[in-house]
Each structure stands twice: as C-alpha cells, then as structure tokens.
Amino acid sequence: MEKKLLMPKLRPEMEKAVLCAWLKEVGDEIKSGEPVYEIETDKVVTQVESSYDGVLKSKLYEEGDTVDVLLPVALVEEKQEAV
C-alpha cells in the first residue's frame, strides 16, 4: 500500500523547509525509523525518517527545492505483512 512521507512541522512558526539531500534512491528498501531525506529550516539540519517498512517508490522533489510543511515529499510502497 502506498504511503506518503511528509515535510514535518518542527515548530509552530515553521511554514516551509529546503529539501537538501536524498539519503535513499528510488527502489531502495527502507525500514521504519531509517532516515530518507535531510531538510534545512531556520538554520537547523535534520533528517526525516520513514514511518514504514517498504520500498522508496518516488521522490516528489529535487534537492534544493523548498517545500511547504505537511506536503508529501516521498512515496513509499509499504511492505505487506504475510497473512
């Protein structure tokens, strides 16, 4: 199932951040808690982690793009648990 990774809102005044670097490539396996991209806002550099186990399906922005908070940045195809 497709899941979205968002641009986080790290403080009340934060409106946007720069997507500085992708730490994973499309097709890479991702574990929950693993960093997927790095952002910079208000002179703070922080890594954004995946909340899902799965595969990075697509990158919605390029490095250097400014993204509004809470917009999707990446799509992850979540790994289905065997029933």
């Binding site: 403080r11 934060m14 720069v18 500085c20 208000d42 002179k43 550099v45 922080t46 250097g64």
Partner: protein, 334 residues
C-alpha cells in the same frame, strides 16, 4: 551540565569534539563546550563554497575552510571570537533555540550587555549581530552551536566573504548579510563605565556564568583515548576535500575573460565539487575542437590546480593561440 575544555583552536578538532560527544561518547546530562579557532571560514552544510568564499583571499591568508554540519550561512571566526556548543540527548523532532540561547543572554548581562534575539535565532546588540546560532541532529543527539563576536577582525571577515559576482546558478542555501559588531565594544562595569576585557577573561566569565545557571555542573577532561577518536573524526568528517568541496550542492557557473588571443567563455555544471559537463565559446583560435577542450574538464575537481593539471594531462599546452593554460585555469576557478 558537563563542561569540556577542548584545549584546541583547531576548528576541525573542535568540530570533531562535537561529533564525538554527540555520537560516540554520550552523557545523560547536557555537554557544554566553549572554544575558539585560528582564522576560519565556516560554511553552512548546504552552501556552495564558490558562492560564499573569496577563495584567493582565504588562500593568501591561510584561513581554514570548514563545512559545518548545521544549517544557515557562512561565518568568519578567529582568535578574537568564541564558539559555544550544547549537546543534548533528544529524541523529539522539535526545534528549540531559546533553552540554549537564554543562558548566553544571561551570561552577557553580567558584562552589562543587553543582547536580544532577532527573528533568525541570532543575538543582537542595538540591532547589530554579535552571535549566530544553528543546530543539527546526529544519532539521538541535538547539537546547538553559536558564535560570539568578541574582538574579531571584522575587516578580514568582510574580505573573506566578499565574492566576485560571477554568474552562478544553484539551489544552495545563501548567506544573509547582517550588520555585525564586537561584544568588546559594549562591555561596561557596574557603574556603566566602558571596560577593556581580554578574550580569555571573557571566556572564563561566560563559562562560569553558564555553569552556575545549571542545576549541577561538572568538568570532564578529554582522555588520550577520546583524543585519538576525536582526531580521527576531525580528519574523516571535516578536514578533507570531500567534506569541504565535494559536498557543495550542484551549481552552474559561467566564467569569461578576454586575452590577447581572444575572448573565451566557459559554462560549467559542477556536481559535488567536480565538473560534470562544460561548454566553451569565444573568438579564440585553437588546434583543438571545443569538444576536446571541454572533454578534458569532465570529472575534474573545480579548482584552479585541478583544471591546470587536467589541461596538461590532455596535452593542451599551446593548443590555443596566445592564451596559456595557466590563463584559462585562473579564469575558470579561484
């Protein structure tokens, strides 16, 4: 709070300390460092050295270049200024500046200085910036660091950060120019009289004031084992070409010059500090095609020395009429 005196003015070692105490040897309590550097230019993590630094000036004056792991713009530091670092365990993904800057404001008040926050997490006196602050996360730690302009050589700061306006296109984080001032211009005694304070005395008073504001404080001495690890981190994470230039965000630059042999224009696409592709135009005469000239540059580091070596390797000496490869290397990169 745990105070650690790094005992070093080497910026690479001091950033190695931050890294070490944030990621390798962690404490439950806040770690506090107060340090200074020999003349150094610090660029933000996602800045482009070519856009931020006057490379010829920096080379001529043996000024260190380092890339911070934190965000924000370029600053100049020297033995007249101080840096402070707070390292905390932090698993919440929330930005918080005041808890680290407030103790610094309180400590400055003991010198009769009324410093205020501006909107960009800087500290100002009368609207002039005296401290810039930035943060990064490493593992489960948050690292907050800031600069304090105490008696910094402002002229060198301006010279080292004044860059010729070549045509550069990039998505890098740009520095914002602020009016700056040195704290030493504002120090007064209890009667409001101006007083002269040495940088070392300023450090002692700041450290003691910040530690006294903590619930409890202790001093940790760097061991030989720590020192070995810190030096290794300084070399691998900060003091190398890859960290400084190889981490530049992608940029396009156009450089041109007129020589006796004609006008020559280069357009370069530089990725992670290396020339990915190039094109050349002009009214010069050459025994080589433009494609041969630009092919020599592909994969070459974007520096004057590397460009010159690439031209020599590709047998381009005297290939262009009345334009030497020294001239071209000099025009392409600083």
């Amino acid at each position: 709070m745990i105070y650690i005196d790094t005992g070093s003015c080497d910026v690479y070692y001091n950033f190695g300390c931050e890294h070490y105490f944030a990621d390798k040897k962690t404490f439950d309590d806040t770690v506090f460092l107060f340090w200074r550097t020999s003349p150094t230019i610090m660029v933000g993590k996602y800045q482009n050295v070519a856009e931020e630094i006057n490379i010829p000036y920096v080379k001529e004056h043996n000024i260190n270049i380092v890339r911070r792991m934190s965000g924000g713009g370029t600053i100049y530091t020297d033995m007249g200024g101080w840096q402070f670092t707070f390292i905390d365990k932090n698993t919440e993904n929330v930005i918080e500046f005041r808890r680290y800057i407030s103790p610094v404001i309180d400590a400055l008040a003991s010198f009769g200085i009324k410093a205020e926050f501006n909107g960009r997490n800087d500290l100002c006196i009368n609207g002039k910036k005296i401290s810039g602050n930035a943060q990064y996360r490493l593992g489960n730690s948050i690292i907050h660091h800031g600069s304090l302009l105490f008696n910094t050589d402002i002229e060198s700061m301006v010279n080292a950060t004044t860059v010729d306006s070549y045509k550069i296109i990039s998505k890098s984080i740009k520095s914002i120019r602020d009016r700056v001032a040195n704290i030493s211009e504002y120090t007064v005694d209890s009667k409001g009289q101006s007083i002269d304070i040495q940088p070392e005395d300023f450090k002692e008073a700041m450290v003691s004031s910040i530690l006294s504001g903590a619930k409890r404080s202790e001093v940790y001495d760097i061991t030989h084992e720590d020192d070995v690890c810190i030096k290794a981190l300084a070399d691998s994470k900060f003091n190398n070409w890859e960290s400084i230039y190889g981490s530049n965000p992608r940029f396009n630059i156009e450089r041109s010059a007129r020589f006796e042999g004609g006008k020559i224009v280069f357009k370069l696409d530089v990725i992670h500090g290396k020339i990915e592709s190039a094109s050349v135009y002009g009214d010069f005469f050459s025994i080589l095609d433009a494609a041969d000239i630009t092919a020599a540059l592909k994969g070459c580091a974007y520096s004057r020395e590397a460009v010159y070596d690439a031209f020599v390797r590709n047998g381009m000496k005297d290939a262009i009429y009345k334009i030497s490869i020294e001239d071209i290397a000099e025009m392409i990169a600083d």
